[in-house]
Amino acid sequence: MTLDDLDRALLRALVANADQSTTQLGAKLGLSQPATWRRIKRLEEAGVIAGRQLILNAEKVGFGVTVFLGVKLATKGRVSLEDFERAIGAIPEVQTVDHVLGLYDYRLRVVARDLADFERVLRRRIMTMPGVGDVEANVLLSEERRPGPI
């Protein structure tokens, strides 16, 4: 789908804050409420807006540690990737799973209450999974999301 300038402005506004009503958004962009609604609907139908996400302060709800794990599978060919992906994705502390090409096979984002809790998740839930080989952990210090090329 190709976007015009108004679509782009609308996307930028929704990425910054999706709580705004169509009336508020329309007023900012000089569009009527129905026109704003139609544009959002079109962006959703084209799959450009994948959904809405609640933004929580992880630390304030008790998750003080976020770790990115690079996981290499030890026994490729013997472990079904589908089984591995299903099992790893089912761990509640595992927030994202990406199958990647390069130094590692999977990249995981894991949250934990603190480092001791992370160690528990890593040892009991992740390292015990069949096929897991080398694991590299990097503890997240800061994070910034950018609007991207819109």
Partner: protein, 151 residues
């Protein structure tokens, strides 16, 4: 501090951020006014920071996603700040994270296709200041991406 009802509200909102106060009130068995007050308090305490639309980049023609793991030259005193501020100027960089570990900084980079990636990588990434080493992980498939917290 959060109590069980707060956690329940946050769980419900996390799984469906579009659910309104009347709906939440019905599920947790409180009046809408009381739910509204709880949400106001969670917002005041900065627990709840709002909602964000998520863009599906492939739908806009950005088919390539690469995770760049960067080690910086730490002999330069302000290497982090200078690198990050320069990385912010690259429109295709959608995430900047700093780490404690083997990797110093990670950039999430998107591109339309491989030639586009090659162009951005050469012209915009390799020219960023104070890079000691770069490793690239190309995303083949995203298996899970909801980023919800196990409340």
């Amino acid at each position: 501090m959060l109590d069980d009802i707060d956690r329940r509200l946050l769980r419900l909102m996390q799984s469906d951020p579009t659910s309104g106060v009347p709906e939440l009130a019905r599920v947790v068995g409180l009046t809408p006014a009381r739910v509204g007050r709880r949400l106001d308090r969670l917002r005041e305490d900065q627990v709840l920071r709002g909602t964000q639309a998520r863009i599906n980049w492939p739908a806009l023609g950005y088919a390539v996603a690469v995770s760049l793991r960067i080690t910086l030259d730490k002999t330069v005193s302000n290497a982090f700040d200078e690198f990050i501020s320069a990385a912010r100027d690259v429109p295709e960089v959608i995430e900047i994270q700093t780490f404690l570990g083997r990797v110093d900084v990670r950039l999430s980079l998107i591109a339309k296709d491989m030639p586009d990636y090659q162009r951005i990588y050469r012209a915009r990434i390799l020219t960023l200041p104070h890079i000691a080493d770069i490793e690239a992980l190309m995303t083949v498939a995203t298996v899970k991406s909801d980023e919800s917290l196990p409340l």
